[in-house]
Symmetry: C2
Subunit: 458 residues, 2 copies
């Protein structure tokens, strides 16, 4: 049954696509069965690789007509299983649509195809003296289409916003092949509903991103980075508030590493740590401005006087700055050596963060007395990466998610829901909200062929 539907689909699409555009060779495409979670999915029986929006439209129209489920794939760097194929799904890959137009310097924007990697777009922007507002670790593999579908975040959301804020114009293809193209990228446009908002962060369940116009930002004159030690979370939050008032938009990142993780990374890295161990939290404060080092130094001097910072070191040269950022990546570098772990990407209002951290620690300990939590993340955004070394993954997940729900936080700050966090969606969203998501899915993809079963059950 499925086999004959795949035959019918291939027959319908072979006149539209070239030889490389339609592939039924598991030997070549086995890698498309898994994403960055490492969990194995099914190998798709057919991989569709269009070169143009018209080809995406033709492919989806055919799938829609046949009721054939489709998984949409970009760089396969997702952490929630959104692009991991389910049994019987054909894969629609944007890997052949990776063109990037020259940046438009007047409008400070750039028009790209969905399959372009974030890093390739960053390079083109930088060559024109401009910057993409979002940067994430997977930059070399993740694609703009995936960034938009998952509303990627990262380190400088504090200043530039999530990926949603970078999208000036968008072209998407709906499940039935309808093309919605709005790529002018007008800064102000209140002519009817802003449809692009619907597709950003909906994880490919409502439409397939084919092209986008992204806002670019002027390159800052300079960057500066400091590492500060603080005695507790309350002081860290007070420092954030103080620096925000002093630095305004020059404050571009405010990252936290909890003491336990800092010490563990130092033990693995060896050498002399930039600040002595023993503090409750270590904060990375980044400034982007005309004279960033001077602004950061003045702001920290003020914070020191206000009693909000104990010890601090300032990175001035590119090398010193890189060494401090290297610390921030400590967990990722050593993840394998931390042993079996359960990882969470949660978001909490700052005024509830202490309560959350205390409650989660208690529940995690109760679930597994041997568990060790390692915390770091984008404190300026209320976004914590909460990693627990444990073998009791399910009980620990329950402990962390229950603690998040209790304070009205989000079970997924950046990574999305996909398949893997779907069981917990109800902890962050009400039945009414999930019902409206279903209504929207039914309105735009009535046969539920696109990324079926991700986020919620349609």
């Amino acid at each position: 049954m499925t086999g004959s539907r795949i035959d019918a689909l291939a027959a319908r699409l072979s006149p539209v696509l070239d030889a490389a555009g339609l592939r039924r060779d598991p030997a070549i495409d086995a890698h498309r069965s898994a994403d960055a979670t490492g969990i194995a999915g099914a190998v798709p029986p057919l991989v569709i690789r269009p070169r143009t929006t018209a080809e995406v439209s033709a492919a989806l129209a055919a799938c829609h007509a046949l009721g054939q489920p489709v998984v949409v794939q970009g760089g396969l760097t997702g952490l929630a299983g959104g692009a991991r194929p389910a049994e019987g799904e054909v894969a629609l890959s944007l890997d052949r649509m990776a063109a990037i137009e020259p940046p438009d310097a007047d409008a400070a924007s750039i028009l790209v195809e969905a399959g372009a990697t974030l890093e390739a777009v960053q390079r083109r922007a930088e060559a024109a003296g401009l910057r993409v507002g979002v940067d994430i670790g997977a930059r070399g593999s993740c694609t703009i289409g995936g960034n938009i579908a998952t509303n990627a975040g990262g380190i400088r959301v504090l200043r530039y916003g999530m990926f949603r804020a970078q999208v000036a114009g968008l072209e998407v293809v709906l499940a039935d092949g309808t093309v919605l193209s709005a790529l002018a990228g007008l800064a102000k446009d209140n002519a009817g509903y802003d449809l692009k908002q619907l597709f950003i962060g909906s994880e490919g369940t409502l439409g397939v991103v084919t092209r986008a116009r992204l806002h670019l930002h002027p390159a800052p004159g300079s960057d500066a980075l400091a590492l500060c030690a603080v005695p507790d979370l309350a002081t860290a939050i007070a420092l954030l508030r103080d620096l925000r008032a002093r630095l305004g938009p020059s404050l571009s990142a405010f990252e936290a590493i909890w003491g336990g993780l800092y010490d563990a990374v130092q033990a693995l890295d060896g050498g002399t740590p930039p600040l002595p161990s023993g503090a409750a939290l270590y904060l990375l404060v980044e400034v982007q401005a005309g004279d960033a080092a001077a602004e950061l130094e003045a702001a920290l001097a003020g914070a020191l006087e206000a009693g909000l910072v104990g010890d601090a070191v300032l990175g001035r040269t590119a090398r010193e700055i890189a060494a401090l950022w290297h610390l921030r990546e400590g967990f990722n570098r050593h993840a394998a050596r931390f042993g079996p772990a359960a990882g969470f990407d949660v978001s909490v209002r700052l005024d509830a963060m202490e309560a959350f951290v205390a409650a989660a620690a208690g529940r995690v300990r109760a679930a597994d007395p041997d568990a060790v939590p390692y915390l770091f993340g984008h404190l300026g955004d209320g976004n914590l990466h909460y990693i627990v070394r444990t073998r009791a993954e399910a009980a620990v997940a329950d402990a962390v998610y229950r603690s998040i729900a209790e304070v009205g936080g989000s079970i997924s700050a950046e990574h999305g829901i996909g398949f893997d966090k779907k069981p917990y969606l109800g902890l962050s969203r009400s039945p009414a909200e999930i019902a409206v998501m279903r209504r929207l899915k039914a309105a735009l993809d009535p046969k539920a062929i696109l990324n079926r079963g991700r986020v919620f059950d349609a």
Copy 2:
């Protein structure tokens, strides 16, 4: 028929609402028939004035059950007829839901009810050393609910974004009374679709905003404002690009007044103009920064050296700054004395603006040889207020809108579509886009009771 439905509705709601919450007195509510366009609508046979979200929900559930159309009203400052009642519509006014909670300084946000005026919220934010990102002329009467429903813009979009960018959390009531409440205001939250985006800028056709959490911004250390004269539009755009690179996020406004309007306003105002007449455009450049005057002066010196500015005056004191902003409001002050006019609020990509201005001028002249166009607006956002002194309003509208469509611009940058611009929506949106808007309307308001007939015909 309509009368008996109103009776049935009143009977159903009178146990739920207090005496002031349900009013059938045209003598009191006659003013609710018109908005800021001055065009008279119908006097609503019943005005519903809830005090709580639960009351809004009960009112809409009753209207939905009876198939009773509802017009949603905030401050009645709209310029597209969105809140102007059609015959037979009951009015739902948010005027009794105007509470404002104390700002949350850690999260830099504020929780407000939809009926609060923008100005009242601005004052509360300022008292806490914070700022609302959006400011518009109607601040004293317009409400936050209306600002959200129309995605209001204004002068500092360049730095802070449209109203969409200010909304951290939203509570809305759907046509059937369903309450969607997501007021936590998390900076990062990718747990399912971001439903609030759907309601921002949809002009009350998909749901009624009852409460919102708004992002606030640190108050800038200081403001500075300069008036510059430039010889042509191309130089104005080159200056924008130059200043954006020099000033980064410190550049907070970049407004233009075309020479013809500058001269006309000077003639009406009398006195010595801040810069001599004769330039093609006059630009207001605002900087918000620690030492705004120094940053602005340095940036203008650089631009002068690059040959992008001829003459410029800098406002340093609050009084000098106010005098320059007073110029910008010149058209509005003198509007009545300009005689019969047709006004447009259009948006164009900067690289197409010269082509648009030339094409529109030609077509307007052909439509009415006596027409005089006056141009001003938010040039930094590509948003022009294009006003034409003419008696041939329909022919002139056709001329301007045709010219906008030709360059892929928007027929409504800030003001929305409402009833009044609905005939032109197809010039900025494709049939596929309008069809998707209809699908969304049908999914969320299947009986089309909310602001029926605004934006598009459901």
